[in-house]
Each structure stands twice: as C-alpha cells, then as structure tokens.
C-alpha cells in the first residue's frame, strides 16, 4: 500500500463514503413512504455496512452481509411486498394525536441516539488495538465447530424451525388446492 500515492487520504475517503452510505441507507429505509424504496434503503445500508466490516478486518463477514442481507433478506421482503400492498397509506391531515406520536418518536429515538452515542464516545474503553490480525475464515470455521458448536446447532435448529413455520403459516392460507 505504501507505493500508492495519497493512500491514506483515499482510504479515509472510502471509509467516509461507506459511513455515509450506511447512514443514508438507514435514513431512506426509515423515512420514505414507499416500501419498495425502504427496502432499497435497507440494501444500501447493508452495502455500507459490508464496507464497514471490511474496515473492521473482516472481509468474510462483509461478503456474508451482502449475501444474506441483500441476497436473501431484501429479496424476501420485496417478494412479500409484491404479494401484499406496495405502498403505505398516505398520511392523513396531521391530527393532534399523530403529531404527538411523531414528537414521541423523535424524542425517544433522539434520546436513544444521544445516550448510546455518548456512551460510545465517553465510555471508559480500554485502549484500542490498532493493528490486529483478522480472524481468518479457517479460525471462524474451527471455532464454530468446537467452542461454539452448541450455538451453531441451536442456530441451525432455529433456521429449521423458521423454515417449517414459514411454510406452515404461508400454506395455511392457500385456497387453490
């Protein structure tokens, strides 16, 4: 990397781009009224997140994020959007109650952001390790099947149950057969 001119500036730029993508994606996902755009926001946030994972020395997770979140979660959500309604109902005229809700949401999320961010910034963290080796795919695999094998099995069980449950729920409403 050292041969690259202005390498650190480029890297910083890319990093900021990923941060911006993540936040912008989340904002889009939450604020837009069209659900399909909201899914796009989620996909965008996932791409940004994948980039951040890469900066956190975990290319494996970055790719898994893309594979699972965009390739699976977003696609499934879009599929459900196609089956159900595409758009949220247009907001009616702001009534006192809805303004109250809106204010409440702003306050709650603002409070959460302020407190968590404050905790992150001011928290009494140990000195961060700057140059650490990344956990290789091999290490992850070994750890999955030794130390965390129980969790691994539980996860596979959860996924299995989820598949069966999804099939059962989705099938019960079918009236073609």
């Amino acid at each position: 990397m050292s041969a690259f001119p202005a390498a650190d500036r480029l890297v910083a730029g890319i990093f900021l781009l990923f941060v911006a993508t993540t936040v912008a994606g989340s904002v889009l996902a939450v604020f837009t009224t069209r659900i399909i755009r909201s899914v796009c926001g989620l996909a965008l946030a996932s791409i940004g997140l994948a980039g951040l994972y890469y900066f956190l020395h975990s290319p494996f997770l970055a790719l898994m994020e893309i594979l699972i979140y965009i390739g699976a979660v977003c696609v499934t959500i879009i599929f459900a959007v196609m089956l159900a309604e595409p758009d949220e109902p247009r907001p009616d005229k702001p009534t006192g109650r809805s303004i109250l809700w809106w204010l409440g949401a702003i306050v709650v999320s603002g409070a959460i952001f302020w407190s968590v961010a404050r905790l992150g910034l001011m928290g009494n963290w140990p000195t961060p390790a700057i140059d650490r080796k990344d956990g290789s795919v091999h290490d992850i695999g070994v750890a999955l099947l030794t130390t965390y094998s129980l969790a691994f099995e539980v996860i596979s069980l959860v996924l299995m149950v989820a598949i069966l449950g999804a099939v059962a729920i989705a099938r019960s409403g079918r009236h073609h057969e």
Partner: protein, 331 residues
Amino acid sequence: MIIPEPFRLLTSLLAVAGFIGANAAYLVWVERKAAAWFQRRAGPTEVGWGGLLQPLADAIKLMSKQIIVPPGTDRLLFCLAPVLIMVPAAMCFAVLPFSAALVPRDINVSLLMVFAFGSLNVIAVMLAGWSSRNKYAIISAARVVSQNVAYEIPMLLVVITVLMVSRTMNLTEIVAKQAGGFWHWNVFNLAANPLMPVTFVIFFICMLAETNRAPFDMAEAESELVAGVFTEYAGMGFGVFFMAEYANIVAGCAMATILFLGGWHSPIGLWPGVWWFLLKMYFLIFTVIWVRWTFPRTQFYGLLNLSWKILIPLSLFTLVLTSGLLKIFGR
C-alpha cells in the same frame, strides 16, 4: 515482476472494463451469428466484414433512441435499475483468475465474493420490473425472484461440494489444485465424489437459470409477457440490461471453468495459460447459446419443480456423499 500498486489497479480496472465491454458487444454478434447458423440463415452480414461492426451499429442505434420514462413509474428506481445491474457483474470480474498471474485482485474469499455480488443481480431485475408499474413487468419480476431464489440454493450447494474437495475459498488456489491433466479437474475428480459430472451439470443448469437464459428466460418470456421486466425500457436502458445479461453469462461460464474445468490448466498437463481458460470459457458460452437456440422455454412451475424436486435433492445428496467420502478416506 512487481508492478507498482496504483498502476496495477488501474490496468486491471481498465482491463476488466474492456473485457466486459468487448464481450458484451461481441457476444451479441456471436449469438446472432450462431443463432443464424443453427437456423441455417446467414445472420448479420451488412455492417462491416461478416457483420463484424454490427454491435457498433446496434449501440449507435440504441443510444440515438429516446429514453422514455413512462408516467406512473417510480422514476428513481426505474433509472437506477440498469445501473444497478451492471455493478455486480463487473464486481465479479474483479476477482476472477484468468491465469496464475492474471488476477485483477487476488483475495482470500474470492469465491464468496463472486456469489455475494452475483446475488445482487436479482434485486436489479426486480426493481426494474417493479418500478415499471406494468402488469407484464410485475408478473415477470415475481417470476424472476422466485426463480433466482430457487436456483441459488442448488448452486451454492454444488459450490460447497467443490469447496469441500478443494478446501479453500480462494479461486486461484482452487484452480491451482486442479493442475496436471484433465483427470485432476474437479469435474472428473471421481475419487472425491463419483457424482462430480452430475454436479457440473447441476451447476451449469443453475447458471443458466441465474442468468435468466433460455430455457429459463422467465424475465423476458417474450411470447407470454411481451418483454417481461424490460417491457418499458427503451434505448440504452434496454441495451444495458442486454449487456449485463452477457456479462453475467461470461462471469457464470468463467466460474464454471474455474470451479470444474481446471481454469487455465491444459487438459494434458502441458502449457498452462490464459488461452486454455478462454478456450474453455468460450466453449461453455457457445453451449449456452446452443442451448438457447435449441429448446423452448420451460413452464414457470416446471422450472421451480426442477429446482426443488430434482436439483436440490441431488445436490444435497452429492454434498452428503462428498463429505462422507472425505470423512472416510480423508486427505
């Protein structure tokens, strides 16, 4: 030979872009010529010698057309979709090893990278269909999603089989392990799994389905859904989808070559090199074209049945078989 990093990056970027562009343009020509010859016609002959400048003429024609965004569409997504479809295809090329030295970017989990970005494809097609707000396009988009989800599964299962045999996620290493004669190629690696040729066929079928090629071209299905998700696209908007289709085919065939056909290794173990890679890849691409001009389209549910009832059980079976054999005989 050590090339300074920025130049290496720049050249590989340019080379990948050029490779994709040239392939997308000239595969159109190849497809038209091959289709014509399969049908005993002459194909493009007018522009340039043997119609060789036809892609250029097509591009000029497409670019000179007005880009129409019909009213009622979701403008942002409608315009974004053609852009979005080119990106994952291009990203895949960033890690494909053309030969031992000719790798744009050699990363450790390149196999995962190809499939992660490959799975983005469906989102773009889907957005194109959804944002068009056209009934044909929406039906087609729904088809595409269920098709791609269904075929992603056997494809990944097959890839995991290969992964277990070669024990690495690095594409360069996967190819390196297949050195020395065609009997070392994964497709003929019967010692690891006697069903290896079957897994190759499964991979090839899934690749056809993932790239929405005939006989699985549900995205376009021109006799049923007019032009499917592309119905509302005009001019270069359509042209980009067209190019992305070929870029995806090239990526898919390159992956099949790398995973199963020994990449840049020659069948007799001598003179490895990039030409072997290209030869195998273009042969597979020709096969893709050949399949398209031979078969009619499958039914939509026939397509899902094929995946869920035949390909997934088969690929699961090969996966279990491989792991069993590996457990028994070890390495």
